[in-house]
Subunit: 392 residues, 2 copies
């Protein structure tokens, strides 16, 4: 078979492979990136689906326009105004088949083999995959508790990458959030470049402590920015509905690319989602999720403080679904994984989040386990860590 060489550089999702290995319900899994299914509004969706199909089945089941269902795009525009004070005309919003497709479309519109893409380090695996498929040459900027390293960002932008991909709120995998001074400085550096900022914000609404901050886009006057959003973490990931905000000229290119990719995102899911959003109180629903995730995160942090060896470092997220653990020098997160899985605890070792090698780090998901299982799982992990340290 004469395959394209493009495939050779794409890592298959290590995480999705791990997920398959953790189907056993006895395993306490901190591995996935799954929202809590306890908080899916199934009944409200059942009613929304029944209503749109009964009232307007012909339009709900027919082909539709590539840009997306206009009332859903208006809803998103209004929500940007209400929650972030952002003025985004609905014409600049493209509905995508999950925000993963937003990454695919950006790659289609911008990337040829060897084109530079600047990533956070560690970085979001789905973005690494999407850009790899189009032959991106990656460069990285270290990400810490206050955001990216600004000196590295300046040096990285000087090499004129086509895209800079950033997740400023509760990043996956690290849980880190850019503080306001960092946001301002990132925006200033971008305004002086012709690199396009791809600002991904799947977790922004999931803040359970600290103060909400405006997106990079709000500071980045004069820079070209694209904002990605998603209903996956606030309504349902299985529906695969996300969106992308872009200026008109870029939007035109993205719509062409989307036509060629899947014609349009399911109008059925778009309309069910829109009906759910208009018939229900989304903010009340998000408040419930925030509270639950905040409790789970606190529970995990307390268990870590109580039981992990002193030398282990970890982030303390103000929102989102993940925290990040850094093992002492010389300890392998892969070896820890082997020990942990034997005790029926799973997590994701850090190396798939690096484009430039492995590391002694790991990602823990707290959204998809009950507090009881979090305590038990962290307790088991702590025992594995102590064994590893003892045999170092």
């Amino acid at each position: 078979m004469r395959y394209s060489p493009r495939l050779a550089t794409v890592k298959r999702s290590y995480i999705r492979e791990i997920l398959k290995a953790t189907q056993d319900p006895a395993i306490i899994s901190f591995a996935g990136g799954l929202p809590s299914p306890d908080h899916f509004p199934s009944q409200a969706f059942a009613e929304a689906a029944h209503a749109v199909l009964t009232e307007n089945g012909a339009a709900v089941l027919q082909y539709s326009i590539t840009e997306g269902y206009p009332p859903l795009r208006e809803y998103i525009a209004r929500r940007y105004a209400d929650t972030l004070g952002l003025d985004v005309p609905m014409e600049q919003i493209l509905i995508t088949t999950g925000s993963q497709q937003g990454l695919d479309l950006m790659a289609k519109v911008f990337l040829d083999p060897g084109d530079g893409v600047l990533m956070e380090r560690p970085g979001y695996l789905g973005a690494i995959q999407a850009f790899s498929l189009f032959g991106a040459a990656f460069d990285t900027v270290d990400l810490g508790p206050t955001g990216v390293d600004l000196a590295q960002l300046e040096a990285g932008l000087a090499k004129k990458p086509k895209l800079f991909y950033a997740v400023p709120n509760f990043q996956n995998p690290s849980g880190c959030t850019y503080d306001e001074p960092t946001r301002r400085e990132v925006a200033r550096l971008l305004a002086g470049s012709d690199t396009v900022l791809v600002e991904d914000n799947p977790y922004g609404e999931l803040r359970f402590s600290g103060t909400p901050l405006p997106p990079l886009r709000a500071f980045a006057q004069g820079a070209c920015t694209v904002l990605l959003g998603s209903f996956s973490k606030i309504a349902s990931p299985g529906m695969r509905v996300g969106w992308l905000v872009a200026d008109p000229d870029l939007m035109h290119k993205l719509v062409t690319a989307k036509q060629a990719s899947d014609l349009h995102t399911s109008i059925f899911t778009q309309r069910v989602l829109h009906r759910f959003l208009t018939d229900n109180d989304l903010d009340a629903h998000i408040a419930v999720i925030r509270k639950a995730y905040g409790e789970r995160c606190q529970c995990m942090l307390q268990a870590i403080r109580a039981s992990f060896p002193e030398e282990v470092r970890y982030t303390e997220p103000e929102g989102g679904m993940f925290l990040w653990v850094q093992l002492p020098e010389g300890l392998s997160s892969e070896r820890l994984f082997q020990k942990a899985i034997a005790r029926k605890v799973a997590f994701v070792p850090g190396h798939p989040f690096y484009v430039d090698g492995t590391a002694n780090s790991l990602r823990l998901n707290f959204s998809n386990s009950t507090p009881e299982r979090i305590e038990e799982g962290i307790h088991r992990l702590a025992e594995c860590l102590k064994e590893l340290l003892a045999t170092r």
Copy 2:
């Protein structure tokens, strides 16, 4: 903006642009490729959606696996066995976000700029778009009432294109169907090549006259073939659920590409569709569609026979949604379009279906208009044609 050069070669869908222009309900439109919304099973879908969300909302709304919902893949495998006698293991079926995404994934896995793709002439616009985006170098084989020109196919395959894209049943745009001797010969030619056959079969179940024929795949032992399928024409296009059949090695590559493209197709739509398929009689539903489309096609053909000038040629499809009209030399289908739209009739001029220039041809859709409107529309088109001929 430093866009990729790949975009420059992708035509935006002329058809979708025409569709926007024909939103006026007073226009009799033969332009779209829309199934008849009169035959969408809205109520059955409303019940299916309500049932799956009520009974198993957590799984229906959560992230899912890239390959697709296993029971839906099993259903498709069983249907291949029952309707075509094809033995397709469910592991070789990948659910896609409409069959358009199947084309995008094939392009991702195989095509680099300049790679050869052999197309039927005229050819399916969605495939031209998907392959253009990856820099395909197109070559064409004329398509007539019994299938592709075999001498041209042999010459085309000798140039070792990576893909040959074929729609053997009721092709879009021509309505042509490969007869059995042509299928055998196409299969023989392919078996001696290392070109991958991409056999697209969206309309296969919509046969309203003549004898069903096995797919090319059934004859093509020893050739590498990929079969695309879709629920768009037999259930709902708006849901965007299609599939792709491929051997294990290729399937592995396609799954990697799909992960990077949209993680997975909406599990909500997959499960609603599967519930609809198991709770209802799909064959009875298809029989209703077939009968309606057969009547509409006959109505269009009778009106054409009764009113079109003698020199105009047209295909007589045995199924599907389209027929193809060839104007006499020197008559422009673009000029006809201008005249027709002034009389509130729309169709698609033929040139977007050619990768190598325009033609005096046009595509007429018969599935999405009532017999009354078909008669009236063809009558008006005939008058436009006579005027054009008179001023030639």
